[in-house]
Symmetry: C2
């Protein structure tokens, strides 16, 4: 069953400029991948090229070109296909994540099963997703919180010089649970000084307070924390990172764009559980292809932040939804994503 | 889709008394489990009640009785069903392993897919299986090695007071690769003294030299080893055991009768890989039901010892085979096991 690979660059726009500790913007480029078999069945995937991890649109395209010569003769051998992608495209987890997603979509369609069912999961067990409020001026923050009306949990980006103002602005207009992501934007002293402030504002989770390599520092923040779990994102990309971070953190955030494979995401969940860690699934600014791929394994995690497509105004696809926070998974085979 | 649970005790006989460091015998009892759905589709599983782990036929039967009231309304929700089994039958990994296998068999049959295919694997990637020679007198050892003619790798049980004689007897009649399993039968000093002997006889792997809790000792044996990897079996039952043993061992041996779930076996593989460990799959004296269940995930492991049914003379089932060591996986849906 010979496969054909097509890809196209898609530009997405967020409703507002989406700003985190290391900057932001309003337009975002992703690469949508299609694997088409000889019967015309299509599997779809998506690559988000994160500059922070050294990725680019050009790098993803180069990795896909390399993968074109290494497409599996047997797409059902997902393990073998992904091992091959790691060899030919080691530099782009984003591209490999897109290929992995597209193969899973294709296999699910050929077997007539949604991915969550192939994985033995119950979609109803997915946790509610948060909705992210990026760094902004108070009046914009108030507007965003109002727009997030249907979402029961907010994720707040901090790591600027007006963190307290942001928390205060949000708490003045809502009593929803809030989670904080500093995106590696704090120093140890700043993070430890912020802990009682986070506690005062009722923050229930703290993500990546310090730069990724400062595990000792993250461990110190965790020890000083007044019961707020500390989760790492930028410090933990793949399953082999978990043993090294496990002693310093309460949990990890899994993203397809970092780990480069749906099978690796499942391996990360297994490894994190073996270490007694909390498991979170996150995303980038992505279309419903990538968001739906991550949503399929959400029934296995504790915390979900899958608002990447919901933050955009021009997602070309429809897949997993978020209904008042509850992730709704498609019941059609494979990913279950269709064009809008 | 209401499920019905049936079970029966099956007595198996090994060709020879099968003796390891802590004793042995010729007759072995297992419990075969059948889950039958309202369409009459049957899923099969098998429980080996290991006295070493506190299990018994009666204990398995009691656990199955407890599980009868907790059978899943939706068998496709394997994750939820297994979580429920852990609650109602925490004491019997053997019974839970049988239920897990039966559910997987049923789901594979309903989806029309063999388990290895649902798991995205290529059966050709399973490693060759060893064939085990139990502790015995020299003339019997020679007979067993002759009977093991078609098997390219031997696994030798040691831990008695004539270990060297056994190795010498075997090496006098064959130059096949040999692996040694001491089944926790050595002291630290004895194990370290045996290392050069094992090396001289060309042993390529050493399993469980010391009692399970002596991880420091196992680590000392490993440090003293002249390149022979040290793998633990009795020290590692489930995935949460892996972080604690990882620093002391080269690998782990996964058995369904210990971990109590096919999903847990996959989680153990993922966790072991994240720790850079070698992964082995092992078995008990079991029918082809349990052996085939383990064989389905063998494409993910490095070392296989799946001779449990091959050692018997009255296995009532046919499933995965071993052809000159190569594990052959069924291509029919589910486990692919049938009555002989």
């Amino acid at each position: 069953m010979a496969l054909r690979l097509e890809h196209e660059v898609v530009t997405l726009h967020t409703r507002h400029p989406f700003i985190i500790a290391r900057g932001g913007r309003s337009d975002w480029q992703v690469v949508v991948v299609r694997l088409i078999d000889s019967d015309g069945v299509e599997g779809w995937g998506e690559a988000y090229p994160s500059g922070y991890y050294g990725e680019s649109i050009e790098g993803v395209q180069a990795a896909l070109t390399a993968a074109r010569g290494a497409l599996p003769a047997n797409p059902f051998d997902l393990e073998g296909a992904e091992a091959c992608f790691r060899k030919v495209a080691p530099q782009s987890a984003a591209a490999r994540g897109a290929l992995s997603t597209a193969l899973h979509d294709l296999v699910g369609k050929r077997m007539g099963q949604p991915l969550w069912r192939l994985w033995g999961l119950d979609p109803a067990r997915a946790p509610k997703s948060s909705f992210t409020v990026g760094i902004d001026a108070p009046e914009k923050i108030r507007q965003k919180v109002a727009e997030a009306g249907q979402y029961p949990i907010l994720k707040i980006k901090l790591g600027s010089d007006h963190d307290e103002e942001i928390l205060k602005t949000i708490r003045a207009v809502t009593d929803k649970p809030i989670r904080v992501d500093a995106n590696a934007g704090w120093t140890r002293d700043r993070a430890i000084a912020m802990l009682p402030v986070l506690k005062d504002y009722g923050v229930e989770l703290l993500e990546q307070p310090l730069p990724p390599a400062d595990l000792e520092g993250i461990g110190a923040v965790r020890r000083a924390s007044p019961g707020i779990p500390v989760v790492v994102d930028e410090s933990c990309l793949v399953a082999t990172d978990i043993p090294a971070v496990a002693a310093y953190v309460d949990g990890i955030n899994i993203k397809l764009a970092k780990c480069g494979s749906l099978r690796e995401a499942l391996r990360m969940i297994a490894t994190a559980r073996a270490h007694g860690l909390l498991v979170m699934v996150g995303c980038m600014i992505e279309t419903s292809i990538a968001i739906t791929a991550a949503a399929h394994f959400a029934p296995l995690v504790d915390v979900a932040d899958l608002d990447g497509a919901a933050l955009t105004v021009d997602d070309p696809y429809v897949g997993a939804g978020i209904d008042h926070g509850q992730i709704t998974l498609p019941t059609s085979p494979g990913l279950g994503v269709r064009r809008r």
